[in-house]
């Protein structure tokens, strides 16, 4: 069963074409790796699939609950990790208890402002934010680039759990070898086009 379907999605920024018309489909229970060099259009594709960026052409059908971890930290630096989680929980209509639960699960310091956290902790906060609404589809953009091996393993475990629960996961990464035992299939993006 397909959880997410993107048909002919493309995106240009001015005269620069970031993504050629592309079809992507994610089925329930699968983990898909999206690989490609820098500037290939991976982040653009994930942002379009997440609903953060409107495609200049094409359509996306997605479930209501989609989790997204952008490549660059995306939370409020002057709020603590817990305050960030609570704010986005409120915006997503998720009980505040879920925010506290994720803060504890990811060992996030409760009283430290996000801007004072280490790069790794900020990445963990973004992963935690993506899980607030218990997503059916999880889109991860280089989610482990700043994490230590134990934390990486935690992210992959989460990905496996989402897929095992009937969800789908799409992971954009440079480190394909990390996903060798995890990904069910691999998509390769080169110069805005699926190879």
């Amino acid at each position: 069963m397909s959880l997410l379907d993107a048909r002919g999605v493309a995106r240009s920024f001015g005269s620069r074409v970031a993504l050629e018309p592309t079809d992507v489909s994610l089925a329930a229970g699968e983990v898909v790796a999206l690989v490609g060099p820098n500037g290939a259009g991976k982040s653009t594709l994930l942002a379009i699939l997440a609903g953060s960026l409107e495609p200049t052409e094409g359509t996306v059908e997605r479930p209501k609950r989609v989790g997204w971890v952008p490549q660059r930290a995306a939370h409020y630096g002057r709020l603590t990790a817990l305050e960030n989680l609570r704010l986005f929980a409120a915006l997503e209509g998720v009980p505040a208890a879920r925010a506290a639960e994720l803060a504890a699960e990811f060992d996030l310091p409760p009283d430290t402002r996000a801007s004072s956290l280490s790069v790794g902790n900020r990445q963990r906060l973004d992963v935690a934010l993506s899980l607030l609404a218990s997503p059916q589809v999880l889109l991860l953009d280089e989610p482990t680039s700043s994490l230590d091996p134990a934390q990486r393993e935690r992210v992959w475990r989460i990905a496996r759990d989402v897929a095992a629960g009937g969800g789908a996961v799409l992971v954009a990464t440079h480190h394909w070898e990390e996903l060798a035992g995890l990904a069910d299939r691999t998509l390769e993006l080169v110069e805005g086009r699926l190879a």
Binding site: F13, S43, T44, L46, A47, A50, G51, S52, L53, E54, V66, W68, P70, Q71, R72, A73, A74, H75, Y76, G77, R78, L79, E83, L87, F88, A90, L91, E92, R113, L129, D141
Partner: protein, 442 residues
């Protein structure tokens, strides 16, 4: 609107955690207002005028029966200028350099002509060229006017001496010549001793009429010298430093700075934090995001604007300055502050939406504040185009709203008109800001 409220709460919490920013946001406009006050004070300062004495003015001059102490008289009549005694060449050099704005020359023979009282002596004036020349000319004219007023009394008193001589008779002096006159009183006495014929009676009637008429000469001379007299009434209302205008502009400047910078920085900050992408996923549509920033500007403008108003009101009470309604209009002022702050917040949001990052947005907002304020300060009758542009921005409407709110006896007409302008402008700029919010770019 719940999403706007949540973003607003976040912004207020963030602002509370950056007290240094808050202090700067309040202190900066107050500093600018103080500097503008100093500049305005300088513009009203006494201009330096050179006094070149080519006649060798003595320490005292006698005009009629009045003795004038020259130094004291000069000090008394030069209230609006600072007179400095200079030589002719030095005065010309300083006038050319701009160190003085005018040269007032007392030509040779001035005192002699003055004392003869048969024709008016002249003073020569040279005024600097440029924008201030009109004002300087007025100041020098005011100085000569005040001097003339003082001399006028001496001239009238001298003339009245002659009238008294005509009335009562006695010894007199004119142009150095001494004389003795019988006077109308003496004439009457002589006529009374003569045989009463019709001719003598006619002369007696003339003497009688002439005595009555000359008795009124004093008032007639004063009236001729000053057909209209200006009587300064005791002053009521606020002192100049606390005038309605000053308070309205201080409030306007403060919240223009606050609202513009805050809204611009807050909206652009969403992009800096890379959160725009998260919010754009249906959590907070761009219209609601702009609404949150406008509300933030409105709230902060209200709180800090009321703080400024309370400070003014406290000064009025402590200083026992009369006039105005410092306390009772504060609720209406709060509404005006919120509305003006929100309208300015919409302008700030547009700046924040167009800028790529918070620092750029804040800088552009800061740079915009002064032109917006100065456009609002230019009277439309001086430069009509400035008035039209200013009408298209919230500052001038806010100032007029504050002024009407605080001090108009019947403020509702002005308040309704300016509030309508602010609502309209706020809506226009918020729509522009909403459409200018750039999409998230990974």
């Amino acid at each position: 609107m719940r999403s706007s409220w949540l973003v607003l709460q976040k912004d207020l919490r963030t602002l509370g955690r950056t007290p240094a920013l808050l202090v700067v946001l309040v202190a900066y406009p107050v500093l600018i207002a103080a500097l503008l006050g100093l500049v305005a004070g300088y513009a009203n300062a006494k201009p330096r005028v050179a006094l070149v004495d080519e006649d060798g003015l003595p320490a005292h001059i006698v005009v009629g029966h009045h003795t004038f102490n020259v130094t004291a008289t000069i000090k008394e009549v030069s209230r609006n200028v600072t007179l400095v005694r200079l030589g002719k060449d030095e005065a010309q050099r300083q006038l050319a350099d701009g160190k003085i704005v005018a040269v007032l020359t007392v030509p040779p023979g001035f005192v002699a002509t003055l004392q003869q009282m048969t024709k008016s002596p002249t003073l020569d004036v040279a005024v600097t060229r440029g924008g201030t020349s009109g004002r300087v000319r007025q100041q020098v004219q005011a100085l000569v006017y005040t001097l003339n007023q003082k001399l006028q009394r001496a001239y009238i008193d001298a003339n009245l001496q002659y009238v008294q001589l005509l009335l009562h008779g006695g010894d007199g002096k004119f142009l150095g010549e001494s004389f003795n006159v019988i006077g109308l009183d003496g004439t009457k006495k002589v006529l009374d001793t003569l045989p009463q014929s019709e001719r003598v009676k006619r002369i007696q009637r003339f003497v009688h009429d002439a005595r009555l008429a000359l008795a009124q000469t004093g008032d007639a001379l004063h009236a001729t010298a000053s057909p209209i007299q200006l009587v300064e009434l005791p002053q009521r209302g606020r002192t100049a430093s606390l005038s309605a205008q000053v308070q309205s502009y201080a409030l306007g400047l403060t919240i223009t700075f606050l609202s513009l910078v805050l809204a611009a920085g807050a909206l652009a900050g969403e992009r800096d934090e890379n959160v725009l992408g998260r919010l754009a996923r249906g959590l907070v549509p761009s219209g609601r995001l702009v609404a949150a920033k406008i509300a933030l500007a409105g709230i902060v403008a209200t709180v800090l604007g009321l703080g400024v108003a309370f400070a003014f009101a406290a000064v009025i009470v402590i200083g026992n300055a009369p006039g105005g309604e410092p306390w009772s209009r504060l609720p209406l002022l709060a509404a005006g502050l919120a509305l003006t702050g929100a309208a300015l917040g919409a302008v700030g949001s547009l700046v924040g939406a167009l800028a790529r990052e918070a620092r750029t947005a804040s800088l552009v907002a800061v740079l915009l504040v002064l032109p917006i304020v100065f456009l609002g300060l230019i009277p439309p009758e001086v430069f009509a185009a400035a008035g039209w542009v200013s009408d298209g921005l919230p500052f001038a409407h806010g100032v007029r709203l504050f002024s009407a709110t605080l001090y108009d006896l019947h403020p509702w007409g002005a308040v309704a008109r300016e509030a309508a302008w602010l609502v309209g402008l706020g809506a226009l700029f918020s729509l522009l800001a909403r459409s200018a919010v750039r999409p998230f770019r990974p």
